[in-house]
């Protein structure tokens, strides 16, 4: 068991995360808190999966929100319109996320940096427009009403406490898989490609294949997140999956630290709690959110995940100034 944790460093973080979820589950006492916690778990998965694209593959995607939406709509349509069981819909959402994400990732084979950002943004935008326009399927701009609750073997997860448990189990399994993935042979290959594509190709690695694989994997995770979200709120509408949400996701990954599991999870926690906290300030809600993000961006360069590295440096500086 210990050997496993030694080999896959990030598993420790996932274990800590799952303990946190269990602990939270024991102390929370109403459905609002459980819903908030579930959203936090979904955001954690979303941000971590995008972090893989940015941090491990060195690519960018501004379509993550749209793929999240693909998952949500797939699950909503399958369960509510076609009566498919939840677990099947969840898998289908992951598959849909995977496939669409390959399309989003395809430009990465040719484009770099901001050009890639624009291309992914374009695909994301097109997807959101389709959510709006294909109203016979999606309910159009008004949204998809009356999504069925998640149901497994005849047991219906209407109660949000139970649904939180379900979301947590699914999320922890996915996170554990991702943690193992990044430190597997494939993960190491990815890092090699990120540092030098030319050197990696000379080792016989095919950069295009690996890049697309990360896009696909992250899309599959985002797709399942969408399914989990759709059965939580049981109502979805296009604006939730807009470009601004994708931009915010990228910001969260950067805030958390480009290739840090712990940072992504911490960013997800801050993001989810801040969202809940600022709502009561009415017109000031967006300002306060922006201010929080601004301060983090300016004063926490390197990401929250690197917070440990910031403090020693500061201490040293203090010591030095005392000495002089």
């Amino acid at each position: 068991m210990l050997g496993l944790f030694k080999k896959y460093k990030n598993l420790k973080i996932v274990l800590f995360f799952s303990l946190l979820l269990v602990f939270a589950g024991l102390f929370l006492n109403n459905e609002y808190y459980f819903a908030t916690a579930s959203i936090f778990v979904i955001n954690s998965l979303l941000i971590t999966s995008l972090m893989m694209v940015i941090g491990y593959a060195g690519q960018i995607s501004l379509a993550h929100g749209a793929i999240y939406g693909i998952g949500a709509y797939t699950s909503a349509i399958l369960t509510t319109k076609l009566g498919a069981p939840f677990l099947l819909a969840l898998l289908a959402s992951a598959l849909a996320g995977f496939l669409v994400s390959l399309i989003v990732g395809a430009p990465s084979l040719k484009l770099r940096g901001h050009y890639l950002a624009m291309a992914t943004l374009g695909v994301g935008e097109i997807i959101v427009i389709l959510f709006q326009e294909l109203d016979f399927l999606t309910g159009g701009v008004n949204g998809f009403v009356g999504i069925k609750p998640a149901e497994i073997f005849g047991y219906s997860f209407v109660n949000l406490t139970e649904y939180y448990a379900l979301v947590s189990v699914i999320a922890v399994s996915i996170l554990a898989f991702l943690a193992i993935f990044v430190d597997s042979k494939i993960g190491r290959a990815l890092r090699a490609i990120k540092s030098s594509e030319i050197a990696a190709s000379s080792l016989g690695l095919n950069p295009s294949f690996y890049k697309l694989m990360v896009f696909g994997l992250s899309g599959a995770v985002a797709g399942s997140c969408g399914s989990l979200y759709a059965h939580l709120d049981r109502f979805i509408s296009p604006s939730t999956f807009s470009v601004s949400f994708s931009v915010m996701m990228v910001a969260m990954v950067i805030v958390g630290g480009e290739s840090s599991f712990a940072g992504s999870l911490a960013a997800a926690l801050i993001f989810s709690l801040l969202n809940e906290y600022v709502r009561q300030f009415q017109e000031l809600s967006q300002f306060l959110f922006g201010l929080g993000l601004f301060l983090v961006a300016i004063y926490m360069k390197g990401g929250i995940g690197n917070i440990g590295k910031i403090f020693p440096a500061k201490l040293e500086r203090v010591k030095r100034s005392e000495a002089s």
């Binding site: 901001h114 374009g122 389709l130 910001a251 950067i254 922006g290 993000l293 961006a297």
Partner: protein
Amino acid sequence: MIETLIQLLISGAVLGSIYGLIGVGFSVVHTATGAINFAQGEFAVLGAFLAISLTGADLPHFFAVIISPIVLTLFVVLLFRIFLTRVADDALYLVVATIALSLMLKTLLLYFWGREPIGLSSPFQGKTLNIAGLMLGYDQLLIIAGALIAYIFLLFFFSKHPAGKAMKAVVEEKEIAMASGLNPALYQGVAFAFGSLLGAFAGCLVAPVSMLSYNSGGLLGLKGFASAIFAGLDRPERAVFGGIILGVIESLVVLFVPSGFKDVVALIVLLIVLTLKPEGFLSGGRKRLA
């Protein structure tokens, strides 16, 4: 039919000039910092609102349109000096800071100028030019002219003026630039301020034609970014044409597809162009060394 086509072409050029004017701001900031300024759209709205307030204080229209971008530029210089220098050398964090900035600016715009859209009443209000049945408002004409002026000015600035050349050098050959005594932080600040100046200028030109609200920045920014990318970020002045092409496509496409899918077609064209020419349609090609 042919008349409709030409009319759509003109509408597209106007719309595109708006996009392009905002787009050049993106490229200029990118030139020196390597970052994308997500608050560019909000800067444009802020510039327009300042001008509206100035004309509200009985200042002549042209005066307001000149003063407002300058005031905004000073504000941005201060903002950069105080906060953004800390992250100027790291494009990623600069990007996040501008995302945060756009959220905060929106609230400030809402607080000071209210929730409803406002328009700038220009002296040319309602005056139209009728060329053989084709209608073109003076204000629309002014937008196209403004875009062309911005193009010529930037073309000169980046190819002839030493400051323009230095600005480009700061990102392209950072070490060399620093060794030859250039201060990157300074040029980054200048580029940022310059970008906001262009944004505010764009806002002032747009405001008489289309009323802006505190919330308009997002859409303007998105289209501006697309124009800049269309043209290629390495040639800031060409974003004007990137915008015009985008605007014309959006406008003409309305003839053939339901207008709900107008943006889908424009984006697909953009994607195809990017696949064919990964550094932008109008870029100078891969001149930079890896």
